[in-house]
Subunit: 284 residues, 4 copies
C-alpha cells in the first residue's frame, strides 16, 4: 500500500443501519479501523487522496453510485463499483445484462411513453407487473389485474417529472408459491439463500413490506444461476432475487445489499465474510 | 449474418433531427435500408429478434440508454452501448472515468446535499460552476459569481424531486478564450474539431445557446487526448468537449452526438463516416 | 366608462380553442372589438391600465386564476373572478362551499397523508373514488375496486412533489345510469343541460375521454340546484357537474367552462349569451 | 351552542410548534379544553360533527387551507378561513387584493412562462426580486443583480413541475434600512409591531434566516395600513410584512402567523389575545 493513504479502508453511508455497524465491527475485529464518511455532509472530491478499499453503503442508489464514482477517480477499489451499482439500481439495465448473459428473466417490455405502455399491455395481457426502472423496497412495483386500474397507473406515472419514473417495465406476472428467493453472493461465491414469504394482503415479497425470512439450502442450479447473475452485472458483493415457478427466473440484483434479516435466517454473518474479503483485497 | 434477422441495421430515435436523416440517407447510399424505430411509440421487447447493428439516436438520455439496453439483451451491437450512453449522460460518471484514465479535468467536487454544497463552495471559491449530473444543451449549468446567487441556486435545486437534480457538481471556472473545443471521435479516430465561440451575454458555448462553430486543425496532443477520452467511456461514436486555458481540460463527452453544425464547420460528413463504419461492422 | 381604457373588453387565453374563437366572434357581432391577450407571452402588470371586463379563458387553472387576479388589482370585472376560478379549480374548496351551502355532495373525506388515506379507505369502503384536489378532464380521478390497486395508487401519489397532488379526496362511488349531467349557468340563469354518456371501458364521463353529449330539458329541482351551486362558488359563468342516482349529487363546478360539445347537444350558443351579458355589464 | 358539539374549540396542526402549545395553554387557562387534531393522521370528513371554532395551524399552506375548508363545510368558524389562508399563501392573490384595496405594493409583474419573465425583466430592470407565488420562510425568494444569475434562475424554475412554481412574481427591489416590519393583527386590532433586522450576508429578513426581532411602537399610518391589509384578505388573525423606504410598501400577509419571536420582542402574549378572542366568538 502506498504510504500516503492514511486510511486503508473507508465505509461510506448516508443513514447508518445495522448492516453498516456490523461491517465496521467486523473490520475492527480484524484490526482495521475504517474511515467513516457520511456522504450527506462530506464534499466528495475527485482525484482526492482516497483509501484503497471503499465500502459503498448509501441507501439512495444515486448517492451510492456517485460516492463510488468519485472514489474510483482516485484509483480506489470500490465495493461495489459505480457501474455495478447502476446496473443493479436501474432495472432496465439489470434485465438487459441478465438476458444478454443467457439467464432466464420474466417476459419483459420497456415502454418509454404512455402510448407505448398501452401497446405493451396488449402484448403481455393480464395480470401484469408494471414498475419503473428505479426505486427500492418494492416501491411503485404494481400488480395490475384490470384495465381501469392500469389506466389510472399510467396517468399517475405520466405526472412524474423524471424520464426514469415515466418509463415502464411491463412484465408477465410469475405465479410463485407465496415466496421469492434471495441469495447473497460475495467474490463469486454464494454465502447462503433465504425464502421471503410474503405477508397476507401483499403480493410483494419485500422484507420492508412485512415478508418473513426463512433459510434454506440452495441446489446447484440455483447457486450457479446466482453467481452468473452477479457476474453479469459485475458485482463483487450483491444480493440476487429469484422467482420460482416452473424453474427459476432472475428478476433483480441489489448492489448495496441489505442483510439484517438474512443473517438471522441463513445463519451466516455476512459482515464477517465481507471484512475477510477486504483483508484479502488489501493484501493483493 | 443470421438469416432470421430481417433487418441488419436499425435506427432508433424519438424526435428525428437532421442528423438522423443524414445517417439514414448515408446508409441507403451504401445499399442498406435500415429499420426505423420511433422509440416513443414502440414497445421495446427484451430478447426480441433484433437487427445486428442498432444506431441509438433518441435525444433524451434515458430514452437512448434504455433503447440500447433492450437491444443489447438480444445481442445487437449498439452505437453507442447503454454503458457508454450513461457514462456520458451522467457527468459524475464521465468525470470519474476521465480522471481514472489520467486525463486532466477541472478541479471538481460532488455534493449530495445542500449542506455539502456549502462546504464545497468554500473549497472551490468564486467564481464557480455548478451543474447537476444530467441534462443536455447546457441546461442548469450555472456560473456563480456571488454568494447570494449561489444560495438562491441551492434553494432551487433543493425543490427538485430527483436525487440526480439535487446532486451538485461544483467546479472551478476555467477561463477560456471565449470558446470551447468540440471534437468527434469514431472508432478510435478523430474525424475533426471545431471551436464553438460563445454568444455575447452568454458564458456557455452550446450551439443551442447561440454559439458559432468554426473548424480548425487539431494538434497531436488534442487528438490523442480526445481519443483517450472516448476510450475512457468506451464510446464508439462520441463528441468530446474540451476547455482550453493553460493547456487542455476534458469536460464532457456526448454519447448521442449532434453534428449538424460540425459538418458545416469541419467540412466532414460525419454521417457518411458512420455509415461506412457500420458496413465494416456488418462484415466482421 | 373611463376614457383612458383603450379597450373595454379583453379576452385572455393560453391555447385558443373553438370556445375562445366563438366568444370573440360573438363580441365582434355586437360591435365590441376585444383586446386579445395570450397570457403565455404577456407580462401581467399589477395596477395596469386594464379593460373594464376581462374574459378569463386559459386552460391551465393557475394561469386562469393569476390572469384574473392581476386584472382585478386594476379594478376590472373578471369572468370569472380569481376567487371563483380557484374555488372551482380546487375540488376541496368546491366541496366545502357546496356542502356549506346545504347542497348534497357524495360522502367525501380529505386525507393529507398516505396514512390518513388508509384510514379514510376503511371509512368509505370499496368501491371508492380517489382524486387529487386539482386537475381537469378527469385526470388522476381513479375508481378503486381492490386493496392492491389502492395501495399502488397511494405509493404513486406519495412520489409527487406538490402537496396538492399528495392530498386525497376519497369519495363514495355514486352508481349512475351510465352518464352524468352537465349544466351551464350564466348570471344566475341556467342556459341548458346535457347528459354525457360515458364510453365503454371508461367509467368517467368526460367528453375528453370519449363521452357522448345529448341535450335534455332539466326539471325545476335540477335547475335550482345548479344555480345554487354557481352561487355557492360565486361564479358568474360556470358549468356544473351533477351525478344522478337516488336524487342529485353535486360534484364539480368548472370556472373556465368548455362548451363546444354543449352547443351542439343543447342547441344553445353559449358564446352569444356570454357576449350579450358582457354588453349588459358594460352598460351598468 | 348546539349540544351535539362535544368540543367547542379545535386546534388543528401538523408539526406542533411553541405557538400551538401556547395557544392550547392559553385556552386551558380560560377553562376551554380544545380538541387536538393532528391533520397528518386524521381523515378530515366533510359535513362532520365539528367544533364551533377551529384554530387552523398546520405549517404547510395547503394542509392549513384544506383543514379549514373541510371544517367550514360543517359550519365551523375557522381562524383563519380557507379563503384567507389561500389569499395569504398565494402571493399573486395577496398582491391582487392589497392593490385592489388601494394599498401601496412594490411595482410587481406576474410572468406565467420563462419567455414572459424575460420580458418582465426588461420592464423592471436590475436589481429585481423574483419569487414564486407559494412558499414560506423566504424560500426561493431571489434577489437578482445580473443577467447571468437571472437566466440560471429561469432555467431552474422551468424544471419544476407545478404551474405555481413555474410562475414568477417579478418585483422592483425596495431598498430598506436593513430591516423590515412585521405587525400582528387580531380582530381588526394591531397587537404590536417588530422590526426584523436581517443577518449579515443575507438580504432577506426572515427570522428563519437569522433575522433579529426588536419591538417598536408603530405610528398611526402604519397601524391603519396593516389593519386595512388584514381586511383586504379577510383575515381575522394574521401577520403583515411591510417594507419601509420612502414610505411603506405592503408586501406579504401570513394567514397562519408564527409569533414566537414576536412575543419576546413586542412584549405581547399573542396566544392569550387569541384565546380571549375565541371566548368572545363562542359567546356570540
Amino acid at each position: 500500500m502506498s504510504p500516503v493513504r492514511t486510511y486503508e479502508v473507508e465505509v461510506l453511508y448516508d443513514v447508518p443501519r445495522i448492516e453498516e455497524k456490523l461491517i465496521i465491527r467486523a473490520l475492527m475485529n480484524l484490526g482495521i479501523k475504517p474511515k467513516l464518511t457520511t456522504v450527506k455532509d462530506t464534499p466528495l472530491i475527485f482525484k482526492d487522496n482516497a483509501p484503497s478499499v471503499c465500502v459503498v453503503r448509501p441507501m439512495s442508489m444515486y448517492r451510492a453510485a456517485y460516492s463510488a464514482a468519485v472514489r474510483e477517480s482516485s484509483g480506489s477499489f470500490t465495493i461495489n463499483s459505480s457501474e455495478a451499482i447502476i446496473a443493479c439500481g436501474d432495472k432496465v439495465l439489470t434485465l438487459s445484462k441478465l438476458a444478454a448473459a443467457g439467464l432466464r428473466i420474466p417476459k419483459s417490455i420497456v415502454a418509454l411513453t404512455i402510448h407505448s405502455a398501452e401497446e405493451a399491455y396488449k402484448l403481455i395481457g393480464l395480470p401484469l407487473v408494471d414498475k419503473p426502472p428505479i426505486g427500492g423496497w418494492g416501491r411503485l412495483v404494481s400488480l395490475i389485474s384490470d384495465e381501469t386500474a392500469y389506466r389510472s397507473l399510467l396517468e399517475h406515472r405520466e405526472m412524474m417529472t423524471s424520464q426514469q419514473l415515466k418509463t415502464h417495465i411491463i412484465q408477465e406476472y410469475i405465479k410463485t408459491p407465496g415466496r421469492d428467493i434471495r441469495a447473497i453472493i460475495l467474490d463469486n461465491q454464494l454465502l447462503g439463500a433465504i425464502y421471503r414469504y410474503k405477508q397476507e394482503n401483499e403480493w410483494r415479497s419485500n422484507v420492508a413490506l412485512g415478508a418473513k425470512a426463512v433459510g434454506f439450502r440452495p441446489d446447484e442450479e440455483l447457486t450457479e444461476f446466482c453467481i452468473k447473475a452477479a457476474n453479469a452485472i459485475k458485482g463483487v458483493f450483491v444480493s440476487v432475487d429469484v422467482l420460482e415457478s416452473d424453474g427459476y427466473f432472475l428478476n433483480e440484483v441489489n448492489g448495496v445489499p441489505e442483510f439484517k434479516a438474512f443473517i438471522g435466517a441463513a445463519k451466516r454473518n455476512v459482515a464477517v465474510d465481507l471484512a475477510e474479503y477486504i483483508v484479502k483485497v488489501l493484501k493483493r
